[in-house]
C-alpha cells in the first residue's frame, strides 16, 4: 500500500540511507558540464517528474567497501562518475529509495541551470570509471 507522501516507484521496504554510504552519479565525460549537459540533466528531471511527480535526479547508494562492485556492475556503462556521501548530500537534498536498488532519487526544487550546477557541485570532482567498457559499436556522429 502506498503511504502518504510516498512517491510512485518508491521502495518503502528499503531502510533509510545510512549517512556513511557513498553516493555515486554516473557522468558522460570527464570535462566540466556545459549547457548541453545541463539540458540532458533537465530532460532526466522532466522524465522523473512525469513518473514520480517530483523533479529528481538519479544516484546510486552503496557502502564504501562495495563502491568498486557498483562501478563494475550497474555503473559499468558510465565512463566517469562523481561521488559524495549521504551525510554531505542530505544537508541540501532529500533522498528517496526508488526503482531497483541501489537506485535513489535526489529531489530538486527546480531545474534551472543554477540548481543543476549546484547539484553536480555537491559531489566531488569527476573520476574515471576503470570498469567502463566501450560500447561494441561507435555511436559518434
Amino acid at each position: 500500500m502506498k503511504m502518504p507522501g510516498q512517491l510512485p516507484f518508491e521502495r518503502a521496504d528499503r531502510v533509510p540511507a545510512d549517512t556513511a554510504l557513498a553516493v555515486l552519479r554516473g557522468m558522460p565525460h570527464g570535462e566540466e558540464p556545459d549547457d548541453d549537459d545541463l539540458d540532458d540533466l533537465r530532460g532526466q528531471c522532466r522524465s522523473a517528474c512525469r513518473r514520480l511527480g517530483r523533479w529528481a535526479l538519479s544516484v546510486f547508494l552503496t557502502p564504501p567497501e562495495q563502491l568498486d562492485h557498483v562501478l563494475a556492475t550497474r555503473m559499468r556503462r558510465f565512463p566517469y562518475y562523481r561521488s559524495t556521501t549521504v551525510a554531505a548530500l542530505r544537508t541540501r537534498y532529500e533522498l528517496r529509495p526508488t526503482f531497483d536498488a541501489p537506485h535513489w532519487s535526489v529531489l530538486l526544487d527546480d531545474i534551472g541551470n543554477r540548481s543543476l550546477r549546484a547539484f553536480l557541485a555537491a559531489f566531488g570532482s569527476t573520476r574515471e570509471n576503470e570498469h567502463y567498457r566501450l560500447p561494441s559499436e561507435g555511436g559518434r556522429t
Binding site: R25, P28, D40, G139, R140, T141
Partner: protein, 75 residues
Amino acid sequence: MTTSSPAMTRLDLPVDLHTFTDDLVWGYLDDARDPDQVVEGAELWVGSRRHAVRARVEQLTDEPSGTIVTLRLLD
C-alpha cells in the same frame, strides 16, 4: 583531459542509465527522435546526447503520464 566540448553521439531515445525497473531501463516514447522506429525488438541508441549505449526495445506500455518504452541494455 582536453578543454574542448565532448562530441555529441547519435541518440534515438533519452534514457537515464541509472534507473532500472526489473533490470530494464525506460524512457518516454514521445521523447524519441523517431517514435515510429520504437517498436518491440528494435535496437536503439539510448542514454544522453553525450553518452549513448545500445538497447533493445522490450515493451511499450501506456501509463497516465505517457507511453513508457522499456529496454534491455545490450553493451
